[in-house]
Amino acid sequence: MRALVVDDSRAMRRIVTRILEDAGFDVLEAGDGQEALDVLETQETPPELACVDWNMPVMDGLTFINHVRQRPQWRATTLMMVTTESEQGQIVRALAAGAHEYLIKPFTGEAMVEKLDLLGLLPAPTGDLT
Protein backbone atom coordinates (compact mmCIF):
# COMPACT_ATOMS: atom_id res chain seq x y z
CA MET A 1 0.00 0.00 0.00
CA ARG A 2 1.06 3.59 -0.56
CA ALA A 3 0.64 6.73 1.50
CA LEU A 4 1.19 10.43 0.92
CA VAL A 5 2.43 12.44 3.89
CA VAL A 6 1.69 16.17 3.63
CA ASP A 7 3.32 18.39 6.27
CA ASP A 8 5.48 21.50 6.11
CA SER A 9 7.63 20.21 8.98
CA ARG A 10 10.32 17.91 7.70
CA ALA A 11 10.74 16.44 11.20
CA MET A 12 7.02 15.61 11.37
CA ARG A 13 7.11 14.08 7.87
CA ARG A 14 9.97 11.88 8.99
CA ILE A 15 8.09 10.69 12.09
CA VAL A 16 4.89 9.92 10.21
CA THR A 17 6.82 8.29 7.35
CA ARG A 18 8.62 5.98 9.73
CA ILE A 19 5.39 4.87 11.42
CA LEU A 20 3.73 4.24 8.05
CA GLU A 21 6.75 2.38 6.66
CA ASP A 22 6.75 0.15 9.75
CA ALA A 23 3.06 -0.52 9.03
CA GLY A 24 3.99 -1.66 5.52
CA PHE A 25 3.37 1.48 3.44
CA ASP A 26 5.50 2.95 0.66
CA VAL A 27 5.51 6.65 1.42
CA LEU A 28 5.46 9.76 -0.78
CA GLU A 29 5.99 13.18 0.79
CA ALA A 30 4.90 16.76 0.12
CA GLY A 31 5.54 20.01 2.01
CA ASP A 32 2.17 21.70 1.42
CA GLY A 33 -1.25 21.13 -0.15
CA GLN A 34 -0.29 22.39 -3.62
CA GLU A 35 2.81 20.20 -3.74
CA ALA A 36 0.64 17.27 -2.62
CA LEU A 37 -1.82 17.89 -5.49
CA ASP A 38 1.16 17.99 -7.89
CA VAL A 39 2.40 14.66 -6.50
CA LEU A 40 -1.05 13.10 -6.91
CA GLU A 41 -1.19 14.27 -10.58
CA THR A 42 1.96 12.25 -11.31
CA GLN A 43 0.54 9.03 -9.87
CA GLU A 44 -1.02 6.48 -12.19
CA THR A 45 -3.13 5.15 -9.32
CA PRO A 46 -3.69 7.32 -6.24
CA PRO A 47 -2.20 6.23 -2.89
CA GLU A 48 -4.54 4.43 -0.49
CA LEU A 49 -3.88 6.98 2.25
CA ALA A 50 -2.99 10.66 2.67
CA CYS A 51 -1.97 12.04 6.08
CA VAL A 52 -2.47 15.79 5.95
CA ASP A 53 -1.40 18.59 8.26
CA TRP A 54 -3.86 21.49 8.58
CA ASN A 55 -1.70 24.61 8.83
CA MET A 56 0.77 24.83 5.95
CA PRO A 57 2.03 27.62 3.67
CA VAL A 58 0.85 27.91 0.03
CA MET A 59 -2.14 25.59 0.48
CA ASP A 60 -3.50 24.38 3.82
CA GLY A 61 -4.74 20.88 4.55
CA LEU A 62 -8.45 21.70 4.51
CA THR A 63 -8.20 23.29 1.05
CA PHE A 64 -6.20 20.26 -0.13
CA ILE A 65 -8.94 17.92 1.14
CA ASN A 66 -11.59 20.00 -0.66
CA HIS A 67 -9.61 19.73 -3.91
CA VAL A 68 -9.12 15.97 -3.55
CA ARG A 69 -12.80 15.38 -2.84
CA GLN A 70 -13.75 17.16 -6.08
CA ARG A 71 -11.74 14.72 -8.20
CA PRO A 72 -13.54 11.37 -8.73
CA GLN A 73 -10.29 9.62 -9.68
CA TRP A 74 -8.90 10.32 -6.19
CA ARG A 75 -11.99 9.13 -4.34
CA ALA A 76 -10.32 5.89 -3.26
CA THR A 77 -7.75 7.76 -1.21
CA THR A 78 -8.49 7.73 2.52
CA LEU A 79 -7.79 11.13 4.07
CA MET A 80 -6.52 11.53 7.61
CA MET A 81 -5.99 14.98 9.07
CA VAL A 82 -2.93 15.00 11.36
CA THR A 83 -2.78 18.33 13.15
CA THR A 84 -2.42 20.33 16.36
CA GLU A 85 -5.89 21.83 15.71
CA SER A 86 -7.94 20.25 18.48
CA GLU A 87 -11.13 22.30 18.78
CA GLN A 88 -14.31 20.28 18.38
CA GLY A 89 -15.54 22.66 15.64
CA GLN A 90 -12.33 22.20 13.64
CA ILE A 91 -12.67 18.41 13.76
CA VAL A 92 -16.28 18.68 12.58
CA ARG A 93 -15.18 20.99 9.71
CA ALA A 94 -12.50 18.57 8.55
CA LEU A 95 -14.88 15.60 8.65
CA ALA A 96 -17.54 17.59 6.79
CA ALA A 97 -14.99 18.51 4.12
CA GLY A 98 -14.32 14.81 3.55
CA ALA A 99 -11.57 13.76 5.97
CA HIS A 100 -12.12 10.15 7.06
CA GLU A 101 -10.13 10.37 10.27
CA TYR A 102 -8.50 12.95 12.48
CA LEU A 103 -5.39 12.52 14.62
CA ILE A 104 -4.38 15.27 17.02
CA LYS A 105 -0.70 16.10 17.53
CA PRO A 106 1.14 15.09 19.61
CA PHE A 107 0.42 11.40 19.14
CA THR A 108 2.15 8.09 19.67
CA GLY A 109 2.97 5.60 16.94
CA GLU A 110 0.44 3.24 18.50
CA ALA A 111 -2.29 5.86 18.21
CA MET A 112 -1.59 6.28 14.50
CA VAL A 113 -1.54 2.51 13.93
CA GLU A 114 -4.88 2.22 15.75
CA LYS A 115 -6.33 4.86 13.41
CA LEU A 116 -5.05 2.87 10.42
CA ASP A 117 -6.75 -0.18 11.90
CA LEU A 118 -10.03 1.73 12.23
CA LEU A 119 -9.72 2.74 8.58
CA GLY A 120 -9.13 -0.87 7.53
CA LEU A 121 -5.66 0.01 6.28
CA LEU A 122 -3.67 -2.55 8.19
CA PRO A 123 -2.88 -5.94 6.70
CA ALA A 124 -5.17 -8.64 8.15
CA PRO A 125 -3.56 -10.62 10.96
CA THR A 126 -2.10 -13.86 9.67
CA GLY A 127 -2.36 -16.00 12.79
CA ASP A 128 -4.98 -16.69 15.43
CA LEU A 129 -3.57 -16.02 18.89
CA THR A 130 -6.21 -18.01 20.65
Binding site: Q88, I91, L95, A99, E101, T108, E110, A111, K115, T130
Partner: protein
Protein backbone atom coordinates in the same frame (compact mmCIF):
# COMPACT_ATOMS: atom_id res chain seq x y z
CA UNK B 1 -5.20 -1.66 51.27
CA UNK B 2 -2.52 0.85 50.30
CA UNK B 3 1.04 0.34 49.27
CA UNK B 4 3.72 1.23 51.85
CA UNK B 5 6.10 4.13 51.23
CA UNK B 6 9.12 1.83 51.15
CA UNK B 7 7.52 -0.49 48.58
CA UNK B 8 6.52 2.49 46.44
CA UNK B 9 10.05 3.92 46.65
CA UNK B 10 11.58 0.61 45.60
CA UNK B 11 9.26 0.29 42.60
CA UNK B 12 9.74 3.94 41.68
CA UNK B 13 13.55 3.58 41.64
CA UNK B 14 13.35 0.32 39.70
CA UNK B 15 11.06 1.78 37.02
CA UNK B 16 13.16 4.93 36.76
CA UNK B 17 16.38 2.93 36.32
CA UNK B 18 14.88 0.56 33.74
CA UNK B 19 12.58 2.80 31.76
CA UNK B 20 13.41 6.42 32.62
CA UNK B 21 9.75 6.83 33.55
CA UNK B 22 9.32 8.73 36.80
CA UNK B 23 6.44 7.71 39.03
CA UNK B 24 5.68 10.84 41.02
CA UNK B 25 4.31 10.62 44.55
CA UNK B 26 0.55 10.34 44.11
CA UNK B 27 0.96 7.47 41.66
CA UNK B 28 0.70 4.93 44.47
CA UNK B 29 -2.70 3.82 43.21
CA UNK B 30 -1.22 3.11 39.77
CA UNK B 31 1.62 1.05 41.23
CA UNK B 32 -0.76 -0.87 43.42
CA UNK B 33 -3.41 -1.56 40.80
CA UNK B 34 -0.84 -2.70 38.25
CA UNK B 35 1.08 -4.88 40.69
CA UNK B 36 -1.80 -6.59 42.49
CA UNK B 37 -2.23 -9.17 39.69
CA UNK B 38 1.49 -9.93 39.73
CA UNK B 39 1.50 -10.23 43.52
CA UNK B 40 -1.45 -12.62 43.41
CA UNK B 41 0.11 -14.67 40.63
CA UNK B 42 3.26 -15.02 42.74
CA UNK B 43 1.19 -16.18 45.71
CA UNK B 44 1.48 -13.08 47.90
CA UNK B 45 -1.41 -11.64 49.89
CA UNK B 46 -0.61 -8.04 48.92
CA UNK B 47 1.72 -5.81 46.95
CA UNK B 48 3.94 -5.00 49.95
CA UNK B 49 4.78 -8.66 50.51
CA UNK B 50 5.45 -9.11 46.80
CA UNK B 51 7.74 -6.07 46.62
CA UNK B 52 9.56 -7.18 49.77
CA UNK B 53 10.44 -10.48 48.14
CA UNK B 54 11.27 -8.77 44.87
CA UNK B 55 13.70 -6.41 46.57
CA UNK B 56 15.47 -9.28 48.32
CA UNK B 57 15.68 -11.74 45.44
CA UNK B 58 15.86 -9.31 42.52
CA UNK B 59 15.04 -12.03 39.98
CA UNK B 60 15.63 -10.37 36.57
CA UNK B 61 12.48 -11.80 34.97
CA UNK B 62 10.31 -10.66 37.89
CA UNK B 63 11.86 -7.19 37.87
CA UNK B 64 11.21 -6.93 34.14
CA UNK B 65 7.58 -7.95 34.65
CA UNK B 66 7.11 -5.15 37.17
CA UNK B 67 8.63 -2.56 34.85
CA UNK B 68 6.42 -3.73 31.99
CA UNK B 69 3.31 -3.66 34.16
CA UNK B 70 3.99 -0.04 35.03
CA UNK B 71 5.03 1.22 31.63
CA UNK B 72 2.20 -0.24 29.58
CA UNK B 73 0.47 2.51 27.68
CA UNK B 74 -2.97 3.82 28.41
CA UNK B 75 -6.01 1.80 27.48
CA UNK B 76 -7.45 2.19 24.01
CA UNK B 77 -11.05 2.81 23.09
CA UNK B 78 -12.64 -0.17 21.30
CA UNK B 79 -9.48 -2.10 22.22
CA UNK B 80 -8.55 -4.61 19.50
CA UNK B 81 -11.56 -3.48 17.38
CA UNK B 82 -12.80 -7.00 16.53
CA UNK B 83 -14.59 -7.74 19.83
CA UNK B 84 -16.66 -4.58 19.40
CA UNK B 85 -17.46 -5.39 15.77
CA UNK B 86 -18.57 -8.85 16.90
CA UNK B 87 -20.63 -7.35 19.70
CA UNK B 88 -22.41 -4.93 17.35
CA UNK B 89 -22.89 -7.23 14.37
CA UNK B 90 -23.44 -10.64 15.97
CA UNK B 91 -23.91 -10.83 19.73
CA UNK B 92 -26.19 -7.86 20.46
CA UNK B 93 -28.56 -8.54 17.52
CA UNK B 94 -28.82 -12.19 18.63
CA UNK B 95 -29.59 -11.20 22.23
CA UNK B 96 -32.09 -8.63 20.97
CA UNK B 97 -34.13 -11.46 19.43
CA UNK B 98 -34.30 -13.27 22.79
CA UNK B 99 -35.07 -10.48 25.24
CA UNK B 100 -38.72 -9.42 25.13
CA UNK B 101 -38.14 -6.86 27.90
CA UNK B 102 -35.83 -4.79 25.67
CA UNK B 103 -33.17 -4.57 28.36
CA UNK B 104 -29.59 -5.81 28.37
CA UNK B 105 -27.00 -5.84 31.11
CA UNK B 106 -23.27 -5.93 30.41
CA UNK B 107 -20.41 -6.29 32.87
CA UNK B 108 -16.98 -4.80 32.17
CA UNK B 109 -15.03 -6.72 34.77
CA UNK B 110 -11.70 -4.82 34.87
CA UNK B 111 -12.68 -1.44 33.59
CA UNK B 112 -9.58 0.57 34.52
CA UNK B 113 -10.22 4.23 33.65
CA UNK B 114 -13.50 3.56 31.84
CA UNK B 115 -12.63 3.23 28.16
CA UNK B 116 -14.01 -0.32 27.98
CA UNK B 117 -17.47 0.24 29.52
CA UNK B 118 -17.97 3.47 27.58
CA UNK B 119 -16.89 1.74 24.35
CA UNK B 120 -19.54 -0.91 25.08
CA UNK B 121 -22.26 1.74 25.54
CA UNK B 122 -21.24 3.51 22.30
CA UNK B 123 -21.26 0.16 20.48
CA UNK B 124 -24.79 -0.55 21.76
CA UNK B 125 -25.90 2.89 20.54
CA UNK B 126 -24.55 1.98 17.09
CA UNK B 127 -26.47 -1.31 17.01
CA UNK B 128 -29.68 -0.78 14.98
CA UNK B 129 -31.38 -3.81 16.56
CA UNK B 130 -31.15 -2.09 19.95
CA UNK B 131 -32.91 1.14 18.98
CA UNK B 132 -35.22 1.98 21.89
CA UNK B 133 -33.55 -0.55 24.21
CA UNK B 134 -32.08 0.05 27.63
CA UNK B 135 -28.49 -1.16 27.91
CA UNK B 136 -26.82 -0.85 31.31
CA UNK B 137 -23.14 -1.48 31.91
CA UNK B 138 -21.69 -2.35 35.30
CA UNK B 139 -18.01 -1.45 35.37
CA UNK B 140 -15.83 -2.83 38.13
CA UNK B 141 -12.19 -2.46 39.08
CA UNK B 142 -9.92 -2.99 42.04
CA UNK B 143 -8.70 0.59 42.14
CA UNK B 144 -10.95 3.27 43.64
CA UNK B 145 -8.90 5.92 41.87
CA UNK B 146 -9.52 4.28 38.50
CA UNK B 147 -13.23 3.99 39.29
CA UNK B 148 -13.32 7.69 40.14
CA UNK B 149 -11.62 8.52 36.84
CA UNK B 150 -14.16 6.37 35.06
CA UNK B 151 -17.06 8.10 36.79
CA UNK B 152 -15.74 11.53 35.77
CA UNK B 153 -15.40 10.31 32.18
CA UNK B 154 -12.78 12.94 31.39
CA UNK B 155 -9.87 12.08 29.12
CA UNK B 156 -6.72 13.78 27.88
CA UNK B 157 -5.97 14.56 24.27
CA UNK B 158 -3.55 11.62 24.18
CA UNK B 159 -6.21 9.30 25.55
CA UNK B 160 -8.87 10.27 23.01
CA UNK B 161 -6.32 9.72 20.22
CA UNK B 162 -6.21 6.02 21.12
CA UNK B 163 -8.56 4.05 18.91
CA UNK B 164 -11.49 6.46 19.07
CA UNK B 165 -12.92 7.31 15.63
CA UNK B 166 -13.05 11.09 15.09
CA UNK B 167 -16.76 10.92 14.29
CA UNK B 168 -17.37 9.19 17.63
CA UNK B 169 -15.27 11.78 19.46
CA UNK B 170 -17.24 14.76 18.15
CA UNK B 171 -20.55 12.97 18.60
CA UNK B 172 -20.20 11.62 22.12
CA UNK B 173 -17.64 13.93 23.80
CA UNK B 174 -17.53 17.56 24.83
CA UNK B 175 -14.31 19.56 24.84
CA UNK B 176 -13.60 20.87 28.37
CA UNK B 177 -10.44 22.95 28.55
CA UNK B 178 -7.58 20.71 27.50
CA UNK B 179 -9.49 17.49 27.98
CA UNK B 180 -12.58 15.79 26.59
CA UNK B 181 -15.53 14.60 28.66
CA UNK B 182 -17.86 11.85 27.53
CA UNK B 183 -21.47 13.01 27.38
CA UNK B 184 -23.76 12.69 30.37
CA UNK B 185 -26.20 10.46 28.47
CA UNK B 186 -23.42 7.87 28.08
CA UNK B 187 -22.03 8.32 31.59
CA UNK B 188 -25.53 7.65 32.93
CA UNK B 189 -25.52 4.19 31.35
CA UNK B 190 -22.47 3.02 33.32
CA UNK B 191 -22.36 2.19 37.01
CA UNK B 192 -18.83 2.02 38.44
CA UNK B 193 -18.37 -0.33 41.41
CA UNK B 194 -15.43 -1.63 43.36
CA UNK B 195 -14.87 -5.37 42.94
CA UNK B 196 -12.04 -7.79 43.57
CA UNK B 197 -12.30 -10.62 41.04
CA UNK B 198 -10.36 -12.98 43.27
CA UNK B 199 -12.94 -12.80 46.07
CA UNK B 200 -16.57 -14.00 46.06
CA UNK B 201 -18.64 -11.53 44.05
CA UNK B 202 -21.20 -9.32 45.78
CA UNK B 203 -24.83 -9.61 44.58
CA UNK B 204 -24.88 -8.18 41.05
CA UNK B 205 -27.80 -9.83 39.30
CA UNK B 206 -27.43 -11.52 35.96
CA UNK B 207 -25.55 -10.24 32.91
CA UNK B 208 -26.13 -10.91 29.22
CA UNK B 209 -22.54 -10.15 28.23
CA UNK B 210 -19.34 -10.12 30.28
CA UNK B 211 -16.11 -8.47 29.16
CA UNK B 212 -13.23 -10.06 31.07
CA UNK B 213 -10.46 -9.06 28.73
CA UNK B 214 -6.74 -9.17 29.48
CA UNK B 215 -7.25 -9.86 33.17
CA UNK B 216 -6.94 -13.63 33.53
CA UNK B 217 -3.39 -13.51 32.15
CA UNK B 218 -2.28 -12.04 35.47
CA UNK B 219 -3.72 -14.84 37.62
CA UNK B 220 -2.38 -18.29 38.42
CA UNK B 221 -4.33 -21.33 37.22
CA UNK B 222 -6.44 -21.98 40.36
CA UNK B 223 -7.41 -18.29 40.51
CA UNK B 224 -8.30 -18.24 36.81
CA UNK B 225 -10.52 -21.27 37.38
CA UNK B 226 -12.26 -19.70 40.39
CA UNK B 227 -12.89 -16.47 38.52
CA UNK B 228 -14.35 -18.27 35.49
CA UNK B 229 -16.55 -20.41 37.75
CA UNK B 230 -17.88 -17.31 39.51
CA UNK B 231 -18.51 -15.57 36.19
CA UNK B 232 -20.71 -18.52 35.19
CA UNK B 233 -22.92 -17.78 38.21
CA UNK B 234 -23.66 -14.23 37.04
CA UNK B 235 -23.96 -14.86 33.29
CA UNK B 236 -27.33 -15.56 31.70
CA UNK B 237 -27.53 -19.16 30.41
CA UNK B 238 -27.46 -17.85 26.84
CA UNK B 239 -25.02 -15.05 27.67
CA UNK B 240 -21.60 -14.42 26.19
CA UNK B 241 -18.15 -13.96 27.65
CA UNK B 242 -15.40 -11.99 25.89
CA UNK B 243 -11.80 -12.76 26.84
CA UNK B 244 -8.55 -11.18 25.62
CA UNK B 245 -6.95 -12.58 22.46
CA UNK B 246 -4.27 -14.40 24.47
CA UNK B 247 -6.72 -15.90 26.97
CA UNK B 248 -8.84 -19.05 26.88
CA UNK B 249 -11.03 -21.24 29.05
CA UNK B 250 -9.74 -24.57 27.70
CA UNK B 251 -7.94 -26.50 30.41
CA UNK B 252 -8.98 -23.88 32.96
CA UNK B 253 -12.74 -24.26 33.29
CA UNK B 254 -14.16 -26.67 30.72
CA UNK B 255 -17.76 -25.75 31.46
CA UNK B 256 -17.20 -23.10 28.78
CA UNK B 257 -17.18 -23.59 25.05
CA UNK B 258 -15.51 -21.34 22.54
CA UNK B 259 -17.80 -20.18 19.74
CA UNK B 260 -16.52 -18.39 16.62
CA UNK B 261 -18.41 -15.11 16.23
CA UNK B 262 -17.68 -12.60 13.50
CA UNK B 263 -13.94 -12.06 13.27
CA UNK B 264 -13.31 -13.13 16.86
CA UNK B 265 -14.46 -15.75 19.36
CA UNK B 266 -16.72 -15.61 22.36
CA UNK B 267 -17.31 -18.11 25.16
CA UNK B 268 -20.60 -19.59 26.19
CA UNK B 269 -21.58 -21.90 29.02
CA UNK B 270 -21.95 -25.44 27.67
CA UNK B 271 -25.60 -26.45 27.43
CA UNK B 272 -25.30 -29.28 29.97
CA UNK B 273 -23.73 -26.84 32.47
CA UNK B 274 -26.50 -24.27 32.29
CA UNK B 275 -28.28 -24.34 35.62
CA UNK B 276 -31.19 -21.99 35.19
CA UNK B 277 -33.61 -21.01 32.48
CA UNK B 278 -33.24 -17.83 30.42
CA UNK B 279 -35.22 -14.92 31.80
Amino acid sequence: MTISTSAFTFVRELVRAESAIVLEPGKEYLVESRLVPLARAAGHPDVDAYVAELSTRRTPSALKQVVEALTTNETSWFRDTDPYTTLRETILPELARNRPRKQLRVWAAACSSGQEPYSIVMTALDTPALAGWRVDVTATDLSEEMLERGRRGEYSQLEVNRGLPATTLVRHFERQGLSWRINQSIRDRVEFRHLNLTRPFPPMGQFDVVFLRNVLIYFDLPTKREVLQRVRQVLAPDGHLFLGAAEMTMGVDDAWERVPAGRSSVYRIREEQRTCVPW
